[in-house]
Amino acid sequence: MTVSAWWFLLVGALVTYGWRAAGVALSGKIDPNSALMRWVACVAYALLAGLIARLIVAPQGALGDTALWMRLSSAGVALLVYFIFRRSIVLGVTAGALWLVAVTTLVGA
């Protein structure tokens, strides 16, 4: 049995707006720098870092059909260009994406 993507979208929207509404209701009543809020930030960053690593190492769909070295080298090129060109995120991302397009075109995915 598969659940429709619409249910995922509905639940995602409710959860996301729930945090925003809670923020409005609680503003002025809680300290955003408390230990609890720092823990919340740590959990969010660990989960997102894990998600991004998973999207690079073990992606779904067509990206999953590419070789691991292609995705890793693309990430490496992005990092390299980012540091060479005075920490430019735009150049880093562009170079990494172009690299992936180039190797998948030349070598075949």
């Binding site: 659940v3 993507a5 619409w6 995922f8 979208l9 639940v11 995602g12 929207a13 959860v15 996301t16 729930g18 945090w19 925003r20 509404a21 809670a22 923020g23 409005v24 609680l26 503003s27 809680i30 955003p32 809020m37 720092r38 823990w39 919340v40 930030a41 740590c42 959990v43 969010a44 960053y45 660990a46 989960l47 997102l48 870092a49 894990g50 998600l51 991004i52 690593a53 998973r54 999207l55 190492v57 073990a58 769909g61 067509a62 990206l63 590419t66 995705r71 693309s74 990430a75 992005a78 990092l79 980012y82 995120i89 880093g92 991302v93 990494g96 994406a97 397009v101 075109t105 995915a109």
Partner: protein, 258 residues
């Protein structure tokens, strides 16, 4: 010149930005968004639109995600878990954890936007405005709104975020459409935009002591736990890895102080 009242001495030097009217502030906010903020975020959403297509969702589902669940990390987590065949519960918890930081962001920004208001409790307009609090608009508002005349801050914020919100809706649609007309290898590059973008953003944050451990532990645990349990790996990475990072960071803070 003599100050007219104690209030004048307090206020006039600090509020350097005055756009005349609330409508003028809204227009100024909209113009501030045109250019770099809308372009950078727009490129990310072109990548998101392509990602939605590759994950097997429809055009309208992709645009609906950007309309109703606007906050890119949570959107990516939701689509990724759906594509990986995860359960609705796993998706709900992951989006909840990924977007939990929106709550303290709203808590810090709301008092700045509402400064000078007589009514103590938030009204409908504040609950509606909160939907548009996401990283880009929040960072700009935190930076610029404290200098603005109260009463013009919320219009400025809404002018800014409505422009970037509409541009992300357009770009989600554009990314989805591009997958159908571009060669498959170019599509791969588009889908890979966001992993690369967030990787570089996190690289900047590694130097921040309060985020370093959460990021490093997450990067290692994410793929490892994915191999052990694809369904719950991400949630364990967030809750377990995040808690471990929090404890290490707390320990660091205490040692740093003494």
């Amino acid at each position: 010149m003599e100050p007219q009242s104690p209030q004048d001495t307090q206020r006039s030097p600090t509020w350097t930005d005055d756009f005349g009217t609330p409508a003028g502030a809204g227009r100024a906010g909209a113009w501030a968004a045109v250019g770099a903020p809308a372009l950078v975020l727009g490129a990310s959403y072109v990548g998101f639109g392509a990602f939605v297509h590759q994950s097997g969702l429809t055009f309208f589902q992709g645009v609906a995600s950007s309309i109703t669940g606007w906050a890119l990390p949570g959107q990516i987590a939701l689509i990724e878990i759906f594509a990986a065949g995860g359960s609705l519960l796993a998706a709900a918890i992951a989006v909840g954890l990924a977007n939990a930081r929106l709550m303290p962001m709203v808590v810090t920004l709301m008092p700045i936007l509402r400064e000078g208001e007589a009514a103590p409790s938030p009204r409908l307009i504040h609950y509606l405005s909160a939907h548009f609090i996401a990283l880009t608009g929040w960072a700009i508002a935190m930076q610029r709104c404290p200098d603005m005349t109260p009463g013009q801050r919320l219009p400025f914020f809404l002018g800014f975020t409505l422009v970037i919100w509409f541009s992300t809706l357009f770009c989600t649609a554009l990314g989805f459409y591009l997958v159908e007309i571009l060669p498959p290898t170019v599509t791969l590059g588009l889908v890979f935009l966001n992993p690369l973008y967030f990787m570089l953003l996190f690289t900047i944050d590694i130097v921040r002591r309060d985020r370093r451990w959460a990021l490093l532990i997450g990067v290692v645990l994410g793929p490892v736990l994915h191999m052990i349990t694809p369904e719950w790996g991400l949630l364990i990475t967030g809750l377990g890895g995040g808690t471990l990072a929090f404890l290490i960071t707390q320990y660091d803070r205490r040692r740093g102080k003494s």
